[in-house]
């Protein structure tokens, strides 16, 4: 199973969600700045990364976890990717998760300042503050996704039998 977390830049909320999924971050503890900066791709992407599906790791159940920045394509992008998977006959092998709903104003402002304007020293503390505020909601989203993945894996195993 492939799980793709996506957000505007593929740099903050989706990357944090993927790190939670992979247990890089402890779900019971709000991460520190150091914890967040240790995550691959966290606040480190540039314009060429838009649209790239980047591998983050494999979870303990064998699901491959990816992140993606899709600019302002919105929730429609989930439908687009799932629709493409469907015509390839692989819809049971894919879960697409939109993280945009959990992006707060601090993350938007900090992310824009750090990534788009290149003012890292100014934007990074703001986006980190925003990520810490959105952390519990991200934990929730990831746990729901993990359950979905387990169910989907079971369903595809049953249909194989």
């Amino acid at each position: 199973m492939k799980i793709i977390y996506h957000c505007f830049g593929g740099s903050h909320s989706s990357v944090t969600a993927a790190a939670l999924h992979l247990r890089i971050l402890n779900r019971n503890q709000v991460p520190t700045t150091e914890d967040l900066m240790k995550i691959p791709y966290y606040d480190k992407t540039n314009d060429t990364d838009f649209g790239s599906i980047r591998f983050m790791g494999t979870d303990e159940l064998g699901n491959d976890i990816y992140v993606l920045g899709k600019k302002s394509l919105g929730n429609r992008f989930s439908s687009i990717l799932m629709g493409v998977a469907e015509i390839l006959g692989k819809q049971d092998d894919l879960i697409v998760v939109n993280c945009m709903g959990l992006v707060n104003w601090s993350m938007k402002l900090g992310g824009f300042t750090s990534r788009r304007l290149g003012l890292v020293a100014l934007g990074r503390p703001v986006v980190i503050w925003g990520t810490r505020r959105a952390f519990n909601q991200l934990v929730n989203l990831v746990e729901i996704t993990r359950v979905k993945a387990i169910r989907k894996n079971r369903e595809s195993q049953v249909s194989c039998l």
């Binding site: 790239s52 394509l73 469907e86 390839l88 692989k90």
Partner: protein, 147 residues
């Protein structure tokens, strides 16, 4: 193999390109095309099946919004991911010269009251763009023969 024509919208110029590719379009009369101006289908966000070509490939159209090339990149990468680097999909982006005008009209057309007016404006706009679309399809057809 699947062939996917993508563009800012999937129910206008992209649809014309797909039908030209399938040799289904003889005249510039678009109103009878399946999915033509079908905003409800477009909103679903899934590829729309148009038909099979002479090689048996399935041909689809899809509207992806303003950043067509970024969407192409994601879709091609997804195809590789899901098919273990053995792609089963050819993605062909379709462009017109008045892309911004089309996108503006397309967004306007979501309002039911304006839908009919917008639809006829888009039809006329794409009649001017027909040669541009035709050229892209011809070039693509040449390329596909070697795949």
């Amino acid at each position: 193999m699947n062939i996917l024509f993508i563009g800012t919208t999937g129910i206008h110029h992209t649809l014309i390109a797909a039908h030209l590719f399938l040799d289904h379009l003889n005249e510039q009369d678009y109103d009878d095309l399946e999915f033509w101006g079908d905003w409800a289908k477009e909103e679903l966000g899934s590829p729309l099946f148009v038909g099979h070509d002479e090689m048996g490939n399935k041909v689809y159209v899809l509207g992806v919004g303003w950043d067509v090339l970024m969407a192409q990149k994601s879709i091609e990468q997804l195809d590789k991911l899901l098919n273990n680097d053995l792609p089963d999909l050819i993605v062909k982006p379709v462009f017109i010269k008045r892309e911004r005008v089309l996108l503006f009209l397309h967004r306007l057309g979501r309002r039911k009251k304006l839908n009919q007016l917008v639809q006829s404006l888009i039809t006329n706009l794409l009649k001017w763009e027909f040669i541009t679309i035709q050229k892209q399809v011809e070039r693509f057809r040449e390329g596909v023969r070697f795949v």
